[in-house]
């Protein structure tokens, strides 16, 4: 492998460059924001330094436990329920095409109702506790998971199905070791869109019907003209969203490493 070493080091330096660029762009943006807003006297766009002071005062860490943690917990619970129920229902419907066709119009109707539109009803029925938020998140996020699971299950290669029957595989092996993994790229894609819907729903539900949470903090800061506090909450949302996405990408690249590998091979 005489040719390998310089080639590899070129790849490495390319990666390093990309990493630098990824760090550089947001750094430049933050520095610009900092400098341009430094002398701002606008009530609505306070200097970044002021926002950061609010951020430190509120979120590091006096309100983190009381407001950020419940938001994240509710999001996690709702998302988990939607994932489990969406995959289980999707498997059933995907394997039983007749049933899937029968419920398709109903599913399309329910899916067309945005989760946030049900907030008034959810408030009436469930109050302002965590149950309401968790239910609303589960409702809002289940659709992409359910529909992608159905699609993924229906798209399993018929050759693989023939292999499974010719080797007399047990039903649980067929489902857990063939159908689910075969459908997993689509299921995970559904989960990714569900996660961003979930963040929207949790913030919105906290703004309207809650006494705590990040959304509640943002809106109540705005109501009391504490504009830097409002921006601080928005910054926190950005950071949390970024971290959640990063974590999800890690989960995805682990679970679908075979799929990524195949795609890389097909491209090369």
């Amino acid at each position: 492998m005489a040719l390998g070493a310089p080639f590899r080091s070129r790849i490495l330096s390319h990666r390093l460059l990309m990493l630098l660029a990824e760090v550089a762009v947001p750094t430049v943006a933050i520095v610009l924001w900092w400098v341009l807003s430094a002398n701002s006297t606008s009530l609505y766009f306070p200097p970044l330094s002021t926002i950061m002071t609010s951020f430190r005062n509120i979120w590091l860490f006096s309100h983190f436990d009381s407001d950020a943690v419940p938001s994240l917990e509710n999001l996690a619970a709702g998302f988990a329920i939607a994932t489990v129920a969406g995959i289980a229902l999707g498997l059933t419907l995907g394997l039983l095409p007749i049933l899937a066709d029968a419920v398709a119009p109903t599913v399309e109707f329910l899916r067309a109702v945005p989760g946030v539109a049900l907030l008034p009803a959810a408030l009436l029925l469930l109050g302002i506790g965590p149950e309401m938020k968790i239910s609303l998140i589960a409702y809002g996020t289940i659709w992409p998971i359910l529909l992608n699971t159905i699609d993924g299950v229906r798209g399993v290669d018929p050759v693989v199905v023939e292999v499974a029957s010719s080797y007399r595989m047990r039903r649980q092996d067929r489902i857990l070791r063939i159908v689910l993994p075969a459908a997993s790229p689509q299921i995970v894609a559904g989960m990714r869109s569900a996660l961003s819907i979930g963040i929207t729903v949790i913030i919105f539900s906290e703004m309207i019907g809650s006494t705590n949470g990040i959304g509640f903090q943002i809106l109540s800061a705005q109501h009391s003209f504490a504009v830097p506090d409002m921006w601080a909450g928005i910054v926190l949302l950005g950071i949390l969203g970024y971290l959640l996405n990063l974590a999800f990408r890690g989960f995805e690249s682990y679970l679908l490493r075979w799929h990524r590998g195949m795609q890389r091979l097909a491209r090369s």
Partner: protein
């Protein structure tokens, strides 16, 4: 892989008893419904395969060879006729049969390692994890793939992937192996290697093989008996006993005048039919 060792044993199998067939197909027909039209594909096929025999079914593409194989595998219900395996009628995929499909890239699970692919069918057989692993190792070493056990199938070449599929079939310990155009998707060199591999495997494991192909040379080279199918709906044109000596060799066997005669005979049968078809 000690292919040479395996090859020297190949006359052991010559001593089979033809009296009780492992597979008996009688008057099998299959008709597909395409819209409002009925399209007969198989028109009354009768076929016997003896224990330990290597039978090749050869015929032009689209002649219903795969349909016949799928019926025998229990994957497709025939429209009429019977299939007996060891005297038992087939209604579902029988445990004594293993199928090797043509398209290895689709028949292997890309999310599982080579070893997991091979052990997957063993899970329903009640073996312990250790027994499963042992059987997989044995089968993988029989096809010369011990080193690839922890790789993903798609990381291997086409020929190696088809060897994984063969190992999966062997680990299942069937009495008969059904192969549907198993070497049609690999290059010529790999193809002849795989042909010799399957001859060796047949000898070591004393297995019955029923192989479908559209390649006339391949059918004559591999088989004890060639079944020529043609027509629409497909019928058996002729069954030809291949009286070539074993062990077969890609160079010397194919140089034999008898090989050329048999090959020419099969080709004539298939071409006659194609001319008629025009």
């Amino acid at each position: 892989m000690t292919k040479a060792d395996v090859m020297t044993n190949s006359l052991v199998q010559a001593n089979v008893q033809p009296s009780f067939p492992i597979l008996a197909v009688s008057d099998l027909s299959k008709t597909y419904q395409v819209g409002n039209n009925l399209r007969p594909v198989l028109g009354g096929i009768s076929l016997r395969v003896d224990r330990g025999e290597f039978v090749c079914i050869v015929g032009p593409s689209g002649a219903g060879k795969s349909t016949l194989l799928r019926c025998i595998a229990g994957l497709l219900a025939p429209s009429s006729g019977t299939i007996l395996l060891d005297g038992q009628p087939i209604h579902e995929p029988p445990p004594k049969l293993a199928v090797v499909f043509q398209d290895y890239s689709r028949s292997l699970m890309p999310w599982m390692s080579v070893a997991k692919n091979v052990t997957l069918p063993l899970r329903s057989k009640g073996y312990s994890k250790r027994e499963q692993a042992e059987r997989a190792d044995e089968a993988l070493s029989a096809v010369g793939l011990t080193d690839a056990r922890s790789q993903y199938p798609w990381q291997l070449s086409g020929g190696m992937q088809q060897r994984v599929a063969i190992a999966r079939a062997l680990a299942y310990e069937p009495e008969a192996l059904l192969m549907d155009e198993p070497f049609a998707s690999v290059d010529a060199q790999t193809r002849s290697d795989l042909e010799d591999l399957i001859l060796g495997v047949r000898d070591t494991f004393g297995m019955t093989v029923l192989l479908v192909t559209h390649d006339i040379d391949e059918s004559v080279y591999l088989a004890d008996r060639v079944v020529v199918m043609s027509g629409s709906p497909t019928m058996i044109r002729e069954e030809i006993t291949v009286d070539l000596p074993g062990p077969r060799d890609q160079v010397s066997t194919k140089l034999l005048p008898r090989f050329a005669e048999l090959r020419a005979h099969v080709m004539t049968l298939i071409r006659e039919d194609r001319v008629k078809g025009l």
